[in-house]
Symmetry: C2
Subunit: 316 residues, 2 copies
């Protein structure tokens, strides 16, 4: 079976996950790829429902993302934001003018009673994204960050307002315990030939999904190979607070720690070829170049990982 | 007593009312002018609370209004709106990018539990407007328009989406019966030396206020002279649907009809000098040039009206 015939589900957060999703999108027929996106970062801002990870994924997959940042829309303006600042507002969260259109449409549809899953499908279609992009849940789950210096912060306050500088004591995922994954998420997992966990932040992007009991159980029950790609290379996060956060939470920032965190959920783990092989029981490991700068890098990593997983069949 | 020492309250809707308010602002010390604004046109749009008349008044009084339209912000862009249209949305209501900042701030504060009165005061301050601008009520009142061709429409659907073309059968002001004017509105009326009813549409801009029982009673109880300025000149509305609407509701579009509609609420009525004097019992009448094109026109009409009312004292 060619790698492009595999039905692939990839669990992603924001920038790093979107990059891998873009590689997979370039490689697979659209109907064979489902991207399940963290929504623990979502928040209400100025009456708008903002879903940073969904937007990053949609903007990336539709080719409109700001390449320099990995998020936001390329060449977006901030006329509204500048006007808010002129009104004396603390404009700590960037709202681009084109980006606001996404938030307005989403908010309008949510207030009209539509699910986030349906709205995301509509936005994807309007942006010309043919692969399935699914929020992890239609229930609001909110990542809360207990910090040593600023008390408990909402995720965006921690991440954007305070630029992830306050030391993290612990995390919780409010609402996750009673949240349900959508039927579409469960169906995608049940039908998957491969499940990939993108090189996103395990604690901030994947943990909110894993904190939803039914979603975690569905992942555990899923018979397909489940493979995580390390977000930590040479002791550093490729982007964002992963390494800093791991240290604050008492983990050594290493591929080994990431794999240990996911534990028995995984059958396979991809570390970066710059690192030495982690020592994992019962989990296949391989080293690839996991740094995705160019589009070619993303295609290559996606192809490397899928080809590797397929080789397991052959070697059985 | 000089006219500028009078404490003036003016009841206004959108464009026409804002013009008179601007003239009054130019004439009076800020502490002597209170502008009470219709909020029956307010609506939720894409999750934003939009208050068209308050915004028109604030943009006009702060000098940022689009002069050609009489509403909106001069030189505002529509980047967000264009992006919404690109998402396939029916962008029938114009949202300028700078204008969206006003809606976002208002929505944010409303959702945080602030009153529309407090939010409007904050916006006025941020825009450098020193006169008091008060929404007629902090309770939502929604003007509903029963049409012969499109059933019942919300005000903005009638006014903007259908450009006030559907023939109107009747109007109602949902929520008015149980709404209360704010304490600030009642205090302003109680302290007023003169109450002016701006040349706004009686049925669409003033009626929502008069439909609030306590507000109507406060007006009735107010001992100050109460003077309306005609929005109908030579059988035509200066702007908008007033004349068309009056005909549909069975009124001849004339100053006489406007004065009759306000009835015993008035002590004085200003018709346009182009028209003949209406025949009104127990109401003083005078003809002025009521067309306000230039800033000078607005100052002149405001001064004419206040001087006329003051002459009543002298002639008593």
């Amino acid at each position: 079976m060619a790698i492009t015939t595999q039905r692939v589900v990839v669990l992603v957060g924001g920038v790093g996950g979107a990059k891998l999703a873009l590689g997979l999108q370039g490689l697979l027929p659209a109907e064979n790829l489902t991207v399940i996106v963290n929504t623990g970062d979502d928040f209400w801002h100025y009456g708008l429902r903002v879903c940073p990870d969904i937007d990053t994924v949609l903007y990336t997959l539709s080719g409109r993302v700001n390449q320099a940042w990995g998020w936001g829309i390329a060449d977006d303006t901030t006329i509204t934001l500048d006007a808010l600042r002129a009104y004396g507002e603390d404009t700590w969260f960037r709202l681009g003018d084109r980006d606001i259109a996404t938030h307005l449409l989403r908010t309008d549809r949510l207030r009209a009673g539509n699910t986030l899953t349906a709205i995301t499908a509509h936005l994807a279609k309007q942006m010309g994204v043919a692969v399935r992009v699914l929020p992890m849940s239609d229930t609001f789950v909110e990542t809360k960050v207990l910090t040593a210096t600023h008390g408990e912060l909402s995720f965006q306050e921690y991440f954007v307002r305070h630029r992830w500088q306050p030391p993290v004591v612990s995390l919780r995922y409010e609402g996750a315990e009673h949240a349900q994954p959508s039927a579409a998420v469960l169906e995608a997992l049940a039908a998957a030939d491969v499940v990939l966990i993108a090189p996103s932040n395990p604690w901030l992007s994947l943990a909110p999904m894993l904190a939803i009991p039914t979603l975690r159980e569905a992942l555990q029950a899923c018979a397909a190979p489940k493979v995580a790609i390390t977000p930590i290379v040479a002791g550093q996060a490729i982007k964002g607070p992963a390494a800093k956060l791991m240290q604050e939470l008492g983990w050594t920032p290493s591929p080994q720690s990431v794999a240990a965190y996911y534990g028995a959920l995984l059958n396979g783990f991809v570390y970066d070829q710059r690192d030495s092989m982690p020592n994992l029981d019962g989990v296949r490991t391989i080293g690839f170049d996991t740094i995705m700068i160019t589009y070619k890098d993303k295609l290559r990593l996606a192809a490397d990982v899928l080809a590797w997983v397929q080789s397991w069949e052959v070697s059985k």
